[in-house]
Symmetry: D2
Subunit: 169 residues, 4 copies
């Protein structure tokens, strides 16, 4: 499993996470402090109580097929994973460490070259130890013609560290 930015001990625990402005600011920090998210240019678009939307701008560096200019599926997956992890954090309303346990991505169609991709994620269920997330990727001007959908499962480390994960704070 791979840990998410919410693992960082720097997230200010004293913030009132019930305040939606604060939730948004935290989500923004998560999206932008993760080095690989920043490297890809991922940014927060929107965050309400239920869901989080991140954006991945088009770049030639992210291309998977040089003949067509279509984005690499891996870049889209990085976006989907990032949005999903942020959605767990938003659902928990607290800086509790989480890690992606597994992720399934369906690639419904190639992303259109030159166009930004958005990913909107929402927790469908949170239990004591596990969160289930659903995430959809699309071009903002074609919200209904999905590029990819993901369903993921995340482990929540409430007050404890997972066996063998010594590197997690």
């Amino acid at each position: 499993m791979h840990p998410h930015m919410s693992d960082t001990p720097r997230a200010p625990a004293e913030l009132d996470l019930g305040d939606s402005g604060v939730v948004r600011r935290i989500a923004e920090a998560i999206a932008t402090l993760v080095p690989h998210n920043r490297e890809l240019g991922i940014r927060l678009v929107e965050c309400d109580g239920d869901s989080v939307t991140l954006a991945l701008p088009y770049s030639p560096r992210l291309v998977g097929n040089p003949a067509t200019g279509v984005l690499h599926g891996g870049a889209i997956t990085t976006l989907l994973d990032g949005a999903s992890g942020t959605a767990v954090f938003v659902a928990l309303r607290a800086p509790i460490p989480v890690a992606t346990l597994d992720l399934r991505i369906d690639y419904l169609r190639p992303a259109t070259p030159g166009v930004e991709v958005h990913a909107r994620a929402r927790c469908t269920k949170v239990t004591k130890n596990v969160a289930f997330v659903r995430c959809e990727a699309y071009h903002p001007e074609q919200v209904d013609d999905l590029v990819a959908v993901a369903s993921g499962t995340f482990v929540i480390f409430r007050g404890s560290s997972l066996g063998g994960r010594g590197k997690t704070p």
Copy 2:
């Protein structure tokens, strides 16, 4: 679904793909001509008739958790997806366009910071229209302590283009 480098019309169809040296050279081209693979520093490690191994070098730019330095799951997924797509191409022994239909990744443990990750992929089944692939990610010095495993399904476009995928050659 997102198309793979084997979509490129530039792959020389007249090559004798039965020659393992050539298979290796083609696999190398696929791994390195894909812009986003190159951006991440992905390179071919090994290619035999059955399986393909790609490597992802560690880099601070690929980090998912700034507190621990652990790689972003998305970067590992890009590696897994790239290795899996290359394995389909190697199994087909011909430059036939393929696209990832879906991918499931299990993240078994965080990658060790500072250490390169390898991904070894193999087709478990190829039918007329679909290829199934299994891929494992690990540190080369700890081959048995897997970091992640993926199973993916790929569409093969034998002589035809998929409905609505006008951008594929």
Copy 3:
């Protein structure tokens, strides 16, 4: 991949599948002519142009945990798979053979012992060769507290048989 009832050559091709009454009748036939669906007591609840709902009645024969009486996950998966395959058929509006390529099921909570489970499925995307389906299982009196969700990929055999699948009509 495992073929679905819509493989049967007995489906009357001359029916006007645009007629929603007929679509419903076909969906009902699919749900009830499949021997293992019938064995589990699966029946059609609803079918509109977009989605299909099947029901699995509770039975002690379907229990997975004798200590709690909770249904076996396999029985719920049979329901999810059956509803998903039926949704593909409804989306195609024609008796074209389809087969499940892969299925991912998230089990969000144990089903309540003694209570019927419903599964509602909808195609999220249909291309020439592949259909993507999303399906949700729940108790009819607790529609929002999902028991399980599934995402599946189906191959569509338009006018041709898949390589190596000689047994499909």
Copy 4:
């Protein structure tokens, strides 16, 4: 998530689970005491320290396609899920409650009508809270021509009950 037979409080905790004969007997109990497993005729074939093999005999009651006599994918999934859950229990060597969190099944080819299906499962990783399992289904006389493969994630309830799962012991 759906709980497994190992939830039953009747499993004798005092047994020496290190003894492979006992492990086998426990696995047999798990396979055969689950009502829906018994209903389908599922039985234990083999159990060593690492893996578990269950068998599903062919029966007209389990058919998914009446035109071809091919088994229902749901029946095969019930077998895969049962074998996977048993493998977790065997890996834990203790009657600790577990529940399937998610399962992905790739259906590689239709099962041959009239022929028994075997499923061999093995834990690839066990952490404090989660077990990852890989399972393969095949006809015993064609071990290499897989019918289906599954990868699943299971929650382990070590000494605690999961939030909202009041029915689990």
